[in-house]
């Protein structure tokens, strides 16, 4: 039998709180250790213990990272979803199930492989049997796929670092699972892993931790935060790195952390820190941005730097708190009442999470405004490969801050909001300096910062603010273009869709469609985005939401003659995107537009 090498999807169905995260990460890391290109998606519930959880592992020599179109191997551990999990499988699926669930597995069209996992785990340690049972499916998979024993051992060690007893028990359970499968299952699996040369420098990391490290290398001085899924791990990661990386010469820390009473307060603290001349940030998710909106307008109008990371989850309202979406993009771009516009940085890889983490502070201080980092649960809470983070390539940009009397004297007719250089960005002085003090305000103000309701003054201020943010376009990260020569069809996308786009592209190519792609990495969008649209006959805007939010922004800002060739493909069901779902929608829209 010819085996299918490094190309399959495993779905593990367990209950939340049973320790399955450990066993799933051991599978993921052991395959990664062998050099198999692999990705893992944790589909977890908004719950501490008991509700169903799925973990999807995709191995792909082509580097596809989205969940595959169908499940090839199904692990069945959860009684509550048992029959639904079974019913969803295509004929021919390999089913590995815990016999001790004592539930029927009536799928004659599939390969059903049972193992008394709980009973065997009880043999090792009766108290821990519920947790240990999960290690038996690791052993089963190791047998079926041919995962290297040493790679497994290394992954176990990594998972239970320093806990010798746990390492020993779990290795034993995995080994027992492997032996049981060898001795009892008369089945040769058509799927297999094969070792590949793993570049020695690569490792897996969650997007949230990459942003956290980026923020630290951006010189963060204050983190304020209010816990919310899926952004909490970003804040907690910063907190865990501060003692190691943010220690001053006297041994004291150079970053303060405040767990705020709510998101409003967290945003207010960032504003206060930025106003006083420090680098402040907070991280949250959609509901938090909604609450912060009043302060977001004050950032914009009083021109104070600050950074907010939105790790997008599925909205609206409380929505699906543990599922992913790109549903907050237009909110971030235009949050708060009145006419506002904010800089939004949109990383698509963990390397960019790190880079935009430090750059966000530079843009915020340069443009004296709020900068959003826009991630999502998929990028933020799943593990992605990197070959290591690059040290910031540029010095910190502290923007136009006047720190001495001489600097102040050098500016004729100084005013806090006077556009001396013609770029819309005025000079500022800091509290405590005694230099040109003003009372900052969210009310209308003139060029000197004095309260004003004058129509001309208001209009001039709003026009300058528009000019200021507009001036950021070509300073912000340019789009990543992958262009075909034909120039007929272009796809614009952003963020975590990066991890699915190659597979979408391949599916389209199989259908005879040749497409170019353009990944937008910031708002307001770079002029190269417009050039890309200009070069193509038809342009799809692909995104993980219902309404086509980037499509809406483009429609609003592009020249009217470009609009007719723009088409939205927007879809969201809370799940990480599957390539075929989006590819088929693209094909439909293209056919309809011909």
């Amino acid at each position: 039998m010819s085996r299918i090498i490094n190309d399959f999807t495993i779905n593990v169905a367990t209950a939340n709180g049973t320790g399955s995260q450990s066993s799933n990460l051991i599978i993921l890391h052991s395959m990664f250790e062998m050099g198999v290109p692999v990705s893992g998606k944790n589909l977890f519930p908004s719950n501490i213990s008991g509700l169903p959880t799925w973990f999807i592992i995709r191995a792909s020599d082509k580097g596809y990272q989205a969940p595959g179109d169908e499940t090839n191997i199904q692990i069945m551990m959860n009684k509550d979803t048992w029959s639904k999990d079974l019913d969803s499988l295509k004929p021919g699926t390999i089913i590995v199930y815990n016999e001790d669930a004592k539930l029927p597995v009536e799928r004659d069209d599939c390969v059903c492989l049972g193992m008394p996992m709980t009973k065997m785990a009880r043999g090792i340690n009766p108290k821990l049997a519920r947790l240990m049972a999960n290690m038996y499916y690791v052993g089963a998979l190791a047998h079926l796929l041919g995962i290297d024993e040493k790679a497994i051992e290394k992954a176990v060690e990594q998972q239970f670092r320093g806990k010798e007893k746990a390492i020993e028990l779990n290795n034993r359970a995995i080994s027992e699972g492997r032996s049981y499968a060898e001795e009892n299952w008369d089945f040769e699996c058509q799927f297999a892993v094969e070792a590949r040369d793993k570049p020695s420098e690569t490792f897996l990391i969650e997007g949230n931790e990459a942003v956290a490290l980026g923020s630290i290398y951006g010189g963060i001085n204050m983190l304020s935060w209010y816990p919310i899924t899926p952004s909490s791990s970003l804040a907690e990661s910063i907190i865990s790195w501060i003692p190691k990386l943010k220690e001053g010469e006297d041994g004291g820390l150079t970053c303060a952390v405040v767990q705020a009473e709510d998101e409003l307060a967290a945003a207010g603290m960032v504003l206060g820190a930025g106003w006083a001349g420090g680098r402040g940030m907070t991280c949250t998710s959609g509901p938090g941005i909604s609450l912060m909106s009043e302060f977001i307008g004050l950032f914009y109008f009083s021109e104070v730097p600050g950074v907010i990371w939105d790790i997008n989850r599925t909205g609206p309202s409380t929505g699906l708190p543990t599922r992913t979406q790109q549903g907050d993009l237009s909110m971030c771009y235009e949050a708060s009442h009145g006419d506002t516009q904010h800089i939004v940085l949109i990383p698509g890889t963990v390397d960019e999470c790190f880079e935009f983490g430090w750059r966000a502070f530079d843009y915020a201080e340069r443009f004296q405004t709020l900068v959003f980092g826009f991630g999502d649960l998929d990028l933020g809470m799943n593990r992605w490969s990197t070959s290591g983070f690059d040290y910031p390539s540029e010095k910190m940009d502290r923007g136009k801050v006047i720190r001495t009397q001489e600097e102040l004297d050098a500016i004729a007719n100084f005013g806090r909001y006077r556009d001396v250089d013609g770029d819309g960005i005025a000079y500022r002085t800091l509290p405590g300096s005694g230099l040109a003090p003003i009372l900052y305000r969210g009310t209308g103000h003139d060029e000197d910062g004095i309260y004003s309701e004058d129509p001309q003054v208001y209009h001039a201020t709003m026009e300058r603010l528009r000019r200021k943010i507009d001036g950021a376009r070509d300073v912000l990260p340019a789009p990543i273009l992958r262009e075909e020569e034909e120039g007929e069809i272009g796809i614009i996308f952003y963020g975590s869709m990066e991890n699915t786009i190659v597979e979408i592209d391949d599916i389209l190519e199989e259908s005879g469609l040749s497409v170019s792609t353009c990944r937008v990495r910031a708002l307001p969008y770079h002029s190269e985005v417009e050039d890309f649209i200009d070069r193509h006959d038809r342009v799809i805007v692909l995104e993980i939401n219902r309404d086509g939010q980037l499509y809406g922004i483009l429609r609003k800002e592009l020249p009217a003659n470009m609009i007719p060739k723009m088409h939205s493909v927007a879809y969201s069901d809370g799940m990480p995107p599957r390539a075929r779902e989006y590819a088929e929608r693209i094909i439909q829209v293209l056919e309809a537009s011909e």
Partner: protein, 344 residues
């Protein structure tokens, strides 16, 4: 020509004044602004070292009317404490002087007020408390007494939130109540609050001359004057001139030492009040309120408590002034971080 009077750092009082007030003539808030100017001047604080903070409302407009040499931030409604917190985190050398109102503090901003107290944020927090929303034309606020009646409309039937009692219950380290018409008492309290390290709350009854200065209002000038239960007569003795303003017979006063070395002398009137006793302070507030009286003076004092920045283990220098080398970890450290992940 009159000789120019200078304070201890050789500044004229005019260095502490601000713009022209746009509040109603006779507003209690303007008297409080004058007290703030007087207190900051007499205490010899460098104007540039002060950060003026406020929320939204009549009271929150007043930072434009004092200390024009200080930076300030007139923020959003009820959220001034969080902005102050952020600024304090990156620059703990600033002296934060905040003005808020009863709507700003007791309603929309009550959460942030509570949490600022919980953190013992190092600031002076003055509430200009008139019991009504002035800018929106006279609606009752949450601090107005049950049975009080403003100029137009019906009598208030809801129980009030007593911000001093609440602050004491929350462990606030300096809690006082005063009256905008009691210039001497209020000046001593503001000066003492400026000498305190930690959160100093001063709830100042400040009559609204436009909407609630009628006799049926518990916060009118006439009512407060007739029902002000003064706990003690206060004298502030600055650390730089220990003999100033002392004229009380031995045995009829007690003294409180403040963080900067200054002293607050409490001259006994009637029953002695011990401000270090939180329960006694609460009893005085509630007993007075039951009889329709406003109890004024230094209600509670609990010094030497860690402030919001004390427990964070921060470096000595204000974080906003750190150089790039101090702020951004080295390239070598990132190499180690990368290597650490690879070794996992």
């Amino acid at each position: 020509m009159k000789p120019v009077k200078l304070n201890v750092i050789n500044l004229e009082k005019s260095e502490y004044t601000g713009g022209k007030s746009s509040l109603c003539p006779g507003c209690g808030h303007d008297q409080i602004s004058n007290v703030i100017i007087q207190a900051a001047w007499e205490n010899g604080i460098k104007p540039e070292g002060i950060a003026k903070m406020s929320g939204i409302g009549c009271s929150s407009k007043t930072p434009a009317y004092f200390l024009s040499k200080s930076h300030g931030f007139n923020t959003v409604h009820g959220r001034m404490p969080s902005v102050t917190t952020g600024a304090n985190m990156v620059n703990k050398s600033l002296s934060f002087l905040a003005v808020s109102g009863d709507g700003d503090t007791a309603s929309i901003g009550i959460g942030q007020f509570i949490h600022a107290i919980r953190r013992n944020l190092d600031m002076v927090y003055i509430i200009e408390n008139n019991g009504v929303y002035g800018l929106t034309k006279g609606q009752y606020s949450a601090t107005v007494e049950k049975g009080s009646k403003k100029k137009k409309g019906t009598t208030n039937e809801q129980a009030p939130i007593d911000l001093c009692a609440m602050a004491i219950n929350l462990g606030c380290t300096f809690v006082a109540r005063s009256f905008s018409g009691s210039k001497k008492q209020l000046t001593a309290l503001v000066r003492a609050a400026m000498s305190h390290r930690g959160m100093a709350v001063i709830d100042v009854i400040s009559p609204c001359v436009t909407f609630a200065n009628n006799d049926e209002s518990y916060r009118s000038y006439n009512y407060v004057k007739a029902n002000d239960e003064v706990l003690h007569i206060l004298d502030y003795i600055p650390h730089f001139s220990p003999l100033e303003e002392v004229d009380v017979p031995e045995g009829e006063f007690s003294e409180i030492s403040l963080f900067d070395g200054s002293t607050l002398r409490l001259e006994t009137v009637g029953d002695e009040h011990d401000p270090t006793n939180a329960v006694a302070a609460l009893a005085a507030i509630h007993e007075g309120a039951a009889e329709g009286r406003h109890v004024t003076g230094l209600l509670h004092y609990n010094p030497n408590q860690p402030t919001a920045t004390d427990t964070l283990g921060l470096t000595e220098a204000p974080l906003m002034g750190l150089s790039e080398e101090q702020n951004r970890p080295s390239k070598e450290s990132l190499d180690k971080v990368n290597a650490g992940f690879r070794a996992k």
